[in-house]
């Protein structure tokens, strides 16, 4: 096992607020790693740091052994890091198929002129992309929605489409920002199975932010608990849930408590 993603002593400040405070951890190749913690703990901010939407004030972020701090946001997907968003960010005025095809953007070939002339090579490429996307559609059971526009789809389906779009990238590392939030119990079950399959069949490493401790403990190998941008506890789901520091942090911030205990 070697570390695929390394967060090394990263700090980020917004004005006077320290959003992420000297956080260090590493995600091993092939594991499912979960970030938990109350709202405002800095989980999504960490995702945005890896996506290069924010620049850390100090520290380093390495992917497959190389620092990504000199990469620009659109280069991250090309490295093989895909992500989903907490409040779904799909392409609303496009169909499910088109959304997934955008995920293939990093694999595109064919010149600018070739695309305008639609050369046989470009057509061949298009077939290849569609083949790859159909696999994702089959995997996630999205067939009924293939030609539907996102704007008319229910929330649960959108969540799945976003997961599918990230998979179409064929990433090495998948960042899932609250994959089960707002989903029903059955839908959450599906997500759990998919995460298992994504890791086992596709060999994709998963880093996720999730509140549902049941999901977290059923799929993840290791868990990092954060509060106020600081690391509280790192270990197996069992260890983290029983850590007194974690319990205290949750009780201190009200409603998240039951979920931890449950």
């Amino acid at each position: 096992m070697k570390a695929l993603l390394e967060i090394d002593n990263v700090t980020l400040r917004f004005g006077g607020v320290v959003a992420v405070n000297k956080v260090s951890f590493s995600v091993e190749e092939g594991e499912v790693f979960a970030l938990v913690g109350p709202n405002g703990a800095g989980k999504s901010t960490l995702f945005n740091l890896v996506s290069r939407f924010y620049d850390p004030v100090e520290g380093d972020i390495r992917f497959a052994g190389e620092s990504i701090l000199d990469r620009r946001p659109h280069e991250i997907a090309r490295l093989g890091i895909a992500r989903t968003f907490q409040n779904i960010e799909l392409f609303e005025q496009a169909t499910v198929l088109q959304n997934l095809l955008v995920g293939r953007h990093r694999h595109r070939q064919g010149s600018f002129a070739g695309q305008i002339l639609f050369t046989p090579f470009v057509r061949k490429e298009e077939r290849r992309h569609r083949e790859a996307v159909e696999k994702v559609i089959d995997f996630l059971d999205l067939q009924p929605y293939r030609e539907k526009y996102i704007a008319g789809l229910p929330y649960g389906v959108r969540k799945v489409v976003e997961l599918g779009r990230a998979l179409a990238i064929e990433p090495r590392l998948l960042l899932l920002d609250e994959p089960a939030s707002g989903l029903s119990v059955e839908e959450t079950q599906d997500v759990a199975f998919w995460i298992e399959d994504i890791r086992k069949q596709m060999g994709i490493t998963v880093l996720m932010v999730e509140h549902d401790m049941h999901l977290v403990s059923s799929v993840s190998d290791r868990v990092l608990a954060l509060a106020d941008g600081k690391m509280l506890s790192l270990g197996t789901p069992q260890e983290v849930q029983n850590d007194p520091a974690v319990i205290e942090a949750y009780i201190g911030t009200s409603d998240e408590h039951e979920r931890v205990v449950a």
């Binding site: 999504s44 945005n48 968003f85 907490q86 960010e89």
Partner: protein, 291 residues
Amino acid sequence: MDVLQLFVSGLANGCVYGLIALGFVLIYKATEAVNFAQGDFMMLGAFICLGLTNPQFMDLPFWFSVPVAILIMGVFGYLVDMVVLRRMFGQSQVAVIILTIALGFVLRFAAGVIWGHEPISLRTPMAGEYVRFGGLVLGLSEVMVIIVTFLLTLVLYVYFNRTKLGVAMQAASQNQLAAYYMGIPVKRLHSLIWGLAGMVAAVAGILFASKGSIEPSIGLLGIKAFAAAVIGGFGSLPGALLGGIIVGLIEPFASYYIAAGYSQITPYLLLFLILVFRPHGILAQIHSKKV
């Protein structure tokens, strides 16, 4: 021409631009809609006042016509929001921009039909009067423009910071949903903001018409005011006024010192530079989207 005189006439022009820009920013801050017809609102306000007071039309007293014109424009702004803009809720910002541009076309046409296309100037008690400061001779209308703008700014400042309605408007512009939950009638507030912008536009129009002639296409001045609003920073009320004054001051000095063909493009050149190097204006108040 004396530099000081250039300065005052530029300042007076700038105040009018600033007031139109103020209208843009008022509406943008509160409703996120951009009213490209604000310049035409100004034109309409000026023509309503002119129609009431000029001898060839209704020949009413000046000091009666001014508040009536302002009031009419206030009601007009309110109605535009209530009848048209409210239906746009949920559509993109660009749709609103296009809609208000179209509205401008319609207003310009209507004004042309009612008041004709010949340039007319507003009959005011100030016309042709001068004030002397030492050796400096200034048109009374220009001095009035500056004073009225200053007073109006003061009134608006007090309104937004001291009165209940003003504070509610500020709150609604900060966070619409939260304001809605607090029991603030956001929709009515939007209409009120449009009414207020209409009134400010009327003041700008009356001031402009008092120191020069107007015609229906004068609403295109709105483009210049729009540039001013962006130069100052689109989300900031003082920025709008500052931007207007900057544009107003650049014009006379540019035409005085630079060749004729080039001077008129200076405001837009400045706008372009600002957009490239400081996209959110001199007094920036815009924050980027969060995911």
